[in-house]
């Protein structure tokens, strides 16, 4: 048993810190730490910096421009970059479709798409969920019918995160209706500029435009955009979901959120004293910190177990549930910390260029919206109910 980082790992952490100290733009860190929304340009700017450093594609083999990090190194990167307020990479291209293309794609697909993901030329979004297919993803209905050298795609995808920025979408489509639902699904790469595709915003309860509906009407997709074999898309989708779930524990994000909460509670006043000195409130913060410590170690145990290679199994589902519950609890406390000021919603204060007086303070402005927005954490990436089903079936054998 040794819970300490090795000398190499400590050296790596110093390297990461030095890089973030030097290269992370202060305005981007301020936005992230201030819970502000990042623009497409913000994301692209940070991606360019990471690419230049060779640290963008952390899940790719080196031959395609990836960086060979151990699971522990990835964890160190996650913790440090969250602590510094570095923007999170939008995962759809680099961490989701790319590993699928690398594992199952043709050489032509690798040549065509991977460099464009690295360069930021392509912005990918994910075409999985449909209005009728959420937790029951395999029931998806979007049809792709082969006609000569093309598939003709008809249907609708939904909850497409940042689809408004994307020029590419990877889609699960039904190519065979004669077989069991999982067996008739294919994995298609679709250019969003193809005629017949319409993107419609979905405004969420916090007033934000983050997700979209994507409609397909007789969309012609070249057959060479099929990944792997026809009707085998479910296998690739499951492979991809493991990658998705790994990042969803969000330990680094929770730690950053806890820091934000403590700063907030230090500035708010209750009965003439800082709120963080209030017994009941400080105990609530402490309780979350304790839970987060446990989740951090659980996460490290899983990381250590896969240190030899591969991806975590159903244990990552357990972490997704715990991790999202902890982040939501932090968001809940932050909202409580601002008391009556949770009620006003001053949209212009969320703009980082805002130079007026803050109604309450800068830290308080986005707190309520952020709390509501993050109710999504227990819903997306496989709802927490589905994650528990996975654990129950795969680990407990129930």
């Amino acid at each position: 048993m040794n819970m300490n980082y090795t000398a190499e790992e400590l050296a790596f952490r110093n390297e990461v810190r030095a890089f973030l100290d030097e290269k992370l733009p202060a305005d981007l860190a301020a936005k992230v730490k201030g819970l502000r929304h990042l623009s497409k340009e913000d994301h692209q700017r940070w991606q360019q910096i990471l690419c230049k450093q060779g640290w963008y594609a952390t899940h790719w083999p080196e031959e395609y421009g990836g960086v060979k990090w151990t699971p522990v190194q990835k964890h160190i990167w996650d913790e440090e970059s969250c602590r510094y307020g570095a923007p999170r990479s939008i995962p759809f291209g680099v961490n989701m479709v790319a590993p699928v293309i690398i594992k199952f794609g043709t050489e032509e697909q690798k040549q065509a798409y991977l460099p464009r993901i690295l360069s930021g030329e392509d912005w990918w979004c994910q075409g999985y969920s449909e209005p009728g297919s959420g937790s029951d993803l395999a029931s998806l209905k979007t049809r792709a019918v082969r006609q000569g050298d093309h598939y003709i795609v008809n249907g609708q995808k939904t909850w497409t995160t940042l689809g408004q920025h994307a020029n590419m979408i990877f889609c699960l489509v039904r190519t065979n209706t004669e077989v069991k639902s999982q067996e008739g699904i294919s994995f298609l790469l679709i250019d969003m500029n193809t005629p017949g595709i319409t993107v419609r915003p979905i405004i969420t309860l916090d007033g934000e435009h983050e997700v979209n509906e994507v409609f397909f009407e007789d969309v012609k997709v070249p057959v060479e955009n099929l990944v792997g074999e026809e009707d085998k898309g479910w296998t690739y989708a499951k492979f991809l979901l493991t990658y998705e779930r790994t990042g969803l524990a969000g330990i680094g994000l929770s730690k950053a959120a806890l820091t934000h909460l403590k700063e907030l509670a230090s500035r708010r006043i209750k009965n003439g004293r800082p709120l963080i000195e209030d017994t009941s409130f400080s105990q609530r913060i402490a309780q979350i910190e304790i839970d987060l410590t446990a989740a951090t170690i659980s996460n490290l145990r899983i990381i250590a177990a896969v240190e030899g290679g591969g991806v975590p199994g159903a244990e990552s589902s357990m972490l997704k549930v715990r991790g999202t519950e902890i982040r939501q609890a932090i968001n809940d406390l932050a909202r409580r910390a601002i008391g009556p000021y949770a009620i006003p919603f001053v949209a212009e204060e969320l703009d980082l260029d805002y130079d007026g007086d803050f109604l309450s303070d800068e830290n308080a402005a986005p707190v309520s919206a952020h709390y509501f927005n993050n109710r999504k954490l227990s819903i997306f990436g496989g709802s927490n109910e589905i994650q528990k089903n996975i654990v129950s079936k795969m680990i407990l054998g129930l």
Binding site: G134, I203, L205, R268, N271, S280, P344, S360, R375, E385
Partner: protein, 380 residues
Amino acid sequence: MDFRLNEEQQMLQDTVARLVRGEYSFEKRLEYSETDAGFSVDFWKQLSELGLTAVPFAEELGGFGGGGVEVQSVMTELGRGLCLEPYLQSVIFGGGLISQAGNDSQKETWLGGIASGELQAAVALQEPQSFYNLSDVETRAEQNGDGYLLNGRKAVVIGGHCADVILVSARTSGESRDTGGISLFALKADTAGIERREYPTTDGFKGCDLILNNVQVSADALLGEEGNAFEAIEYQSGRAIAALCAEAVGVMEVANELTLDYLKQRKQFGIPIGKFQVLQHRMVDMMSELEQARSMAILAASVADAEQNDERRRVLSAAKNIIGRSGQFISEKGVQSHGGIGMTWEYNFAHYAKRLIMINHQLGDDDFHLERHASLLQAH
């Protein structure tokens, strides 16, 4: 024991329910929310024409001296519609403060208009540092000439952006958080020196912060005795808590109805998701949370107009604590049971979810009232 409404109370509730059903579709509410007033001026007129804005006032003001139960009947239905009108702020809280603390001339000036809905009152008791403690008052009122000079800032005044009269607490003596030394003033909103910093609220209402910069008022703006306003403030905030609890019950009722309906309609894996036991049990928990909340709203209504004592204080804090917790439970679990659709602006559930969370931030959240209840614990 009989928990049923009497015939008059039932008629009152039915009247409000019909009105809300007719005028307060979800789509219309979104439109009302976007107007300058932030609510439906027409709907407000209809409430007043039917005498509903006068319910808690005496007969000579056109009311029928309605108590906690009558107010509860009105508020629950307004809650079901997520109604934006200033019933709580103006009729219950503002009207209540003037009724309790005002002299005859002040009552004559304001109450008739408030009861008829022609005048709108708002209540400015919180401050940036006060959290939910209504004795944490740093705004100062100094005697000046024949009247007072007010300076300070009042926080999150719901409905204050368009109120005609704003009831402001200010310290005339004592230290911050002393209950003594707090005075109450009825400020005409157009008095020189009042700046209203207006904003929409997270749950679709409108309000403002009030910045008081050398606001000179005459002596007749003082409600009640100088320095002795806390009693009325505490008592009336208790009446407002009872009313808000009743409103919350209406909001929770609809949130649960929508969720239950969704569990029956939505199919995944070939069956309605309501067939999954984990969702069934959650729905049962949501229902029992609502029933706990309803019980406490009834109890709160029963003491709303009772004599002030520690028992009344305990009951009202207990009720607000339960409402805060059950509201958050129903809000969060309801969103979760809906999945993504429960988070969208276009679907009414999300707006019920937001209102429930914001109700917890009005008049003290569940933590605040837990603490208050603990401070009033009886040893035996």
